[in-house]
Symmetry: C2
Subunit: 345 residues, 2 copies
């Protein structure tokens, strides 16, 4: 039977080990593609691109058309959520995102917009999902996504990306109860956001916790594990058939707790995770990953060798082939072709 | 018997579990101390400070005098080694270090200075060590240090600090053999550098691999484990009584391989390492760490609570109390007093 419900991605996320794993790439819709750069130049700002359904749809489809990847991921940004909660958001070239004013104490929490008013801002994102649900090939499922509460909080508190999430760590140690309110607010908002993406047609969702690695274990449990568990539980009550993929980047040893205590269908592995360990320690969930995206810059022979090693290392395990981090703007699209040949044979 | 050979630090590094662990802090000589900032303002450049023995000695002694810490660590910088190998080194305020010209291919390797000419540049560092060996209290051992080959290479290749060590990763995937020559050169140079520090009076040495976490496991073995093993073996042949502390920051699951296959006396743990796991998985080496330095900014009650939890979690294990990352410039020196009280009771 054809259709996305029977797609390779969803079969693996339900626990099936396939001879040839499905392949998609984090940031597969992006700057390394000439067709993306062309459309981006015409779109106005990056935010305009995210909030214009026909453009966001087109950008999402570009890598599917060019490469025939096994899954599409919604084109959006993890900071659309704080934007919808009332922070101003801008992206300036070479500087990274800015959120203002910062949300760094309890008072600032009170100035955020209520969760049920997010839809005003996020409606175009849901419309993009609806369009994609119609326009994608039947065997290519659409993955929706959100930033995880801890990672999104780290940007909201600092107003920008930081090397060490210092401002958020300061707040959590000064006033754990106040900081926890932000995490709880984001947990609720993320449930609403992902639920709306699923209602609009997303067939799986992914939770990106890019800065999970900067938390001591005790805080990792409170701000990474707990929110992830609440999010998967809330979604599973309404959509038991929609799998959630969790990406606690840099979690190291804590990947084991994450895999077993959050209710994720799959765990995305960063490049540092040894696959022999993952096979053993993360039993019971599907594994996604974990090629170093830098080989998509440098090419063969290392690219094909490393890709095949990953396929071999996870043979017999439910495995979604992916990178261990997003593809970089200087990657060569021809190397993606080599990658697909190496994985698919 | 008094003396540094019987100091708490060296006893723990030889495998003894003490009731109250010795305490020192990464970057304990630094900008959070007013007396450091005052001396720094008079010293000229940061490099002048590193290369002027009486000033580097004074800066090293400042935190020992103020706090009575259980170990001193040489004041220097991991980039003095590439400087001694012929790269130009500068530190500009707010910008971080710059090395020029970059060493990003085999040809550039040929332009470096031979290892036996490093002494010209590094002689003042060894003189600082000699002075400290005389001026430190008898029960406060001096720790020498170097950057580990992978981390130092990542700066040499990029010419600066990078978020992802992309340039070095590119070289290693494009030309593993060429890149390996750089790693081998740095391994040899590090042995010479640390040997000279020990000859001058350092009683332990530490190897900082700050970017160990950005390598896939296979490369981690080649560029982190292998060089570390060669360095400890070479030093142990000449100085079997001098312990080496390894810090593969961000190694995650690979901490286990690092602890068992490098011949380190101790392994320094970053803030993300769960101590119950470390107790179990890293048996056989002393453990150093791993308080989040951010609590030295934010203070009590979290500071004392977290410090005591670490002491409890490693009770019965050879443990050197330390931070999981360097103390930050905005830390409050009064919080260091609170920390010592929490650890020492």
């Amino acid at each position: 039977v054809a259709g996305a419900g029977n797609s390779k991605l969803l079969r693996v996320l339900r626990g099936e080990a396939l001879e040839v794993p499905p392949v998609w790439m984090m940031r597969q819709a992006g700057r390394y593609l000439p067709e993306y750069r062309e459309l981006r130049a015409r779109a106005g700002s990056f935010l305009d691109l995210c909030y214009t359904p026909e453009l966001a749809e087109e950008v999402t489809l570009q890598p599917i058309r060019r490469f025939g990847l096994d899954a599409a991921i919604l084109f959006a940004d993890i900071l659309l959520l704080p934007h919808a909660l009332g922070q101003e958001l801008s992206f300036s070239e070479g500087e990274g995102p800015r959120l203002a004013p910062v949300v760094a104490d309890r008072q600032a929490l009170g100035r955020l917009r209520p969760i049920d008013e997010m839809r005003e801002t996020l409606a175009p994102v849901y419309e993009t999902v609806r369009r994609l649900a119609r326009s994608l090939p039947a065997d290519v499922p659409l993955i929706g996504f959100a930033g995880a509460p801890w990672t999104v909080a780290s940007y909201m508190v600092a107003g920008q990306g930081t090397a060490d999430q210092g401002p958020a760590r300061c707040w959590m140690y000064r006033d754990a109860e106040g900081f926890e309110r932000l995490i709880e607010l984001l947990t609720e908002a993320t449930i609403v956001y992902l639920a709306a993406q699923i209602e609009a047609g997303a067939q799986a969702v992914m939770l990106f916790d890019s800065w999970a690695g900067s938390l001591p274990p005790e805080r990792f449990v409170r701000y990474v594990i707990e929110p992830a568990r609440r999010i998967t539980a809330a979604l599973a009550r309404a959509w038991p058939q929609v799998p959630v993929i969790g990406f606690p980047r840099g979690a190291g040893v804590m990947y084991e707790v994450f895999a077993h205590e959050t209710g994720m269908a799959a765990v995305a592995l960063d490049t540092a995770v040894p696959l022999d360990w993952a096979r053993r320690a993360l039993r019971g969930v599907a594994l996604q990953g974990n090629l170093d995206p830098m080989v998509l810059v440098t090419g063969d022979p290392e690219l094909s060798r490393m890709a095949r090693r990953i396929v071999e290392a996870l043979r017999g395990v439910p495995h979604v082939f992916n990178l261990g981090h997003g593809i970089t703007p200087d990657a060569d699209p021809r190397n993606v072709e080599l990658l697909l040949r190496a994985v698919r044979g």
